[in-house]
């Protein structure tokens, strides 16, 4: 499928519930064939936005376009979208096969053709031979698959997934994540996933829209979101980030120099230069894994600071150190992969910390 064609376009979508402003001018495009996630805390409007695509929610102003067609006035049962609901919404009085074939009821297929289509859909989700089972006897993961098969059998242009993995346990969830990615590549349909789980969004998506209070805060691919979040809020929501107050010392030729306590002067990339002017008080942020606790004899190619270890959290494969860099007030978190034979440091130990200026992100 052509990557660059637009499947869904939101044009300044506004939604009010009475006085409550649920969607505040959403403008975004979702490409055909991509795995797109709407990520945000509960109440940020991500589910509402998804439901405006499905046609379950009207919009107060603006436009929702699907494949170039304005969806205003098109009811949910006439839209080229299908949804996998959070509760799966498996019809409890029907068998698995009847559930999966429900949407084909009106297609006027012969009994054989219908059975063939249902069988193929069940096979696609790994439930071959489950057709005659009672739907209510299924496990959570199986319900999930039935819901997927039921939605995909109609070959929609867009598959909408409303937090479908949130009810599963951790192991099942991770397994389904992988299967969903595989399925999406296989069918090539545009998938739009609503989730509050940032890890899930990072793992599965081609692109992610991070939403807060009815607005898209940032829309980018997972790597950009993680490495170059455009606000402290996005940075905090996606993974963990340390923040330090800093001051812009100089700004010249697309380069920017800031000074942060304990870190000294840092020159940052040109791409971030637009974010601040000389003399501004700013915040620099960095991910826990971009810092390294140096052990005796190790040298760093990057810059170094001295620090005291305040807290040690041991995870088996990882150790989290909360360290206080000399000259700073608040401890920062460093995550280190544990290496066999290397000791885990203790609280109170003095250590050197290495960090790369390129990993720092500047926030206003």
């Amino acid at each position: 499928m052509n990557e660059s064609t637009t499947m869904i376009a939101f044009q300044d979508v506004q939604k009010y519930y009475g006085d409550y402003h649920a969607l505040r001018g959403i403008t975004a495009e979702i490409r055909a064939g991509e795995f797109f996630s709407l990520l945000g805390p509960s109440g940020c409007g991500k589910t509402t936005l998804l439901r405006t695509i499905a046609g379950f929610e009207g919009i107060s102003s603006g436009a929702v376009m699907i494949d170039g067609r304005n969806m205003a006035g098109v009811p949910a049962n006439k839209r080229p979208t299908n949804m996998v609901f959070q509760s799966y919404a498996i019809f409890p009085h029907l068998s698995v096969g009847e559930n999966v074939g429900f949407g084909l009821r009106r297609a006027g297929l012969s009994k054989d053709d219908l059975a063939k289509r249902v069988g193929a859909a069940l096979e696609m989700v790994g439930l071959s031979g489950f057709g005659s089972r009672a739907a209510h006897a299924l496990s959570g993961g199986q319900r999930q698959r039935v819901a997927l098969a039921r939605a995909l059998i109609l070959k929609p242009k867009v598959l909408l997934l409303d937090a479908p993995l949130s009810a599963l346990d951790k192991k099942m969830r991770e397994q389904m994540q992988v299967e969903l990615i595989r399925l999406q590549r296989q069918v090539g349909i545009t998938f739009i996933l609503v989730t509050h789980d940032q890890e899930e969004a990072l793992v599965m998506s081609d692109r992610i829209a991070v939403m807060f209070e009815g607005e898209i805060a940032q829309l980018a691919d997972p790597e950009t979101l993680y490495r170059r979040p455009n606000s402290k809020r996005v940075a905090d929501f996606i993974g963990t980030m340390n923040f330090l107050p800093a001051k812009v010392v100089s700004e010249q030729g697309g380069k920017i120099e800031v000074e942060a306590n304990g870190f000294g002067r840092i020159t940052l990339d040109a791409e971030q230069a637009a974010a601040a002017a000389s003399g501004d008080a700013v915040v620099v942020g960095f991910r826990p894994e971009t810092l390294t606790v140096l052990f005796d004899g190790q040298t760093a190619s990057d810059r170094e600071s001295m620090a005291t270890i305040e807290e040690v959290v041991y995870f088996g494969d990882m150790t989290y150190y909360d360290v206080k860099i000399d000259g700073t007030e608040t401890p920062i978190r460093i995550s280190m992969r544990n290496v066999f034979g290397r000791p885990v440091l203790d609280i109170g130990d003095r250590t050197r910390v290495a960090w790369a200026p390129g990993a720092l992100v500047l926030f206003r």
């Binding site: 499905a54 379950f56 009811p75 949910a76 049962n77 006439k78 979208t81 299908n82 949804m83 609901f85 959070q86 509760s87 919404a89 019809f91 409890p92 009085h93 429900f102 949407g103 009821r105 009106r106 009672a134 739907a135 209510h136 006897a137 039921r150 939605a151 109609l154």
Partner: protein, 268 residues
């Protein structure tokens, strides 16, 4: 003796509850006209006498007609109200629901007298129809209560899923909602049927020349020789009630099993 007094209490309780009902068939099959011990001998003549009473037949027919009609009408109203109250938000909802449920606690005699006054004032002749009006009025709160819980336990995304898969609102109702609330509809029909069948006060006031079974039974107590026949009739009614309840329970459990729900409540 652990729990000894509790056992005694339970026994006395059950005895108090069921002894009068056990007495019914005893005297129904007793040979004597007078309702007193000792029993004189086995006979089925009261059942035979019951079968040849034309007024009794009429009363039974009237009662069935009224009960079936009232059950169907009040269940239909109940479906409308339950659907509206669980699915939609509208102004004054709490107040309106309270008003609709009020006949549940209003003294029936007040309802009966006011209905009589209104109907006579409107110049409507008393008939089976007026009894049905009264019975629908008192049955509907019960059907709403039963059906609301059926509609409430329905996951709204089931409807949305059917709609999303291309069905219209009407076919969604027929294919998804109706089958899933069917156990509720059946118990609503049975409860309102039972309420209407043994309702006395409204039927007594509004029946005119078409007495229902309870009204007929009450009127027969004026004649001592008719009492054993009433006993026989009572025996038949008790048996029918048990059968009806068993059927209702069967459908309720099957409905729950079919949709994979957990069995909470019910009669048996």
């Amino acid at each position: 003796m652990k729990g000894g007094w509790f056992k005694v209490y339970t026994l006395v309780y059950l005895l108090f509850l069921y002894a009068p009902i056990i007495i019914l068939p005893m005297f129904a099959f007793n040979d004597a006209t007078v309702i007193a011990f000792p029993l004189t001998g086995f006979s089925i003549r009261w059942f035979e006498a019951m079968l040849v009473q034309p007024t009794l037949g009429r009363a039974v027919a009237n009662s069935l007609e009224i009960a079936v009609t009232s059950a169907i009408l009040s269940t239909i109203f109940g479906v409308f109200v339950a659907r509206a109250s669980t699915r939609y938000r509208f102004p004054m909802k709490t107040g309106l629901m309270g008003l609709i449920m009020l006949p549940l606690v209003l003294p029936e005699i007040i309802v009966a007298v006011s209905l009589l006054v209104v109907l006579l004032g409107l110049g409507i002749n008393l008939s089976k129809f007026t009894v049905i009006l009264g019975h629908v009025l008192i049955c509907t709160p019960f059907t709403i209560a039963i059906l609301s819980s059926a509609f409430q336990s329905l996951d709204q995304s089931l409807e949305e899923a059917a709609y999303d898969l291309g069905e219209s609102a009407a076919s969604t109702f027929r294919l998804i909602i109706l089958p899933l609330v069917m156990p509720g509809i059946i118990s609503s029909l049975l409860i309102s049927f039972t309420i209407s069948l043994d309702e006395f006060i409204i039927a007594f006031f509004l029946a005119g020349t078409e007495p229902t079974l309870p009204v007929y039974i009450f009127s027969q107590f004026r004649f001592p020789q008719a009492v054993p026949v009433i006993m026989a009739l009572g025996t038949v009614l008790v048996c029918l009630s048990i059968v009806l309840l068993t059927i209702a329970e069967y459908f309720r459990r099957r409905g729950i099993a079919k949709s994979g729900g957990k069995d909470t409540g019910g009669f048996l």
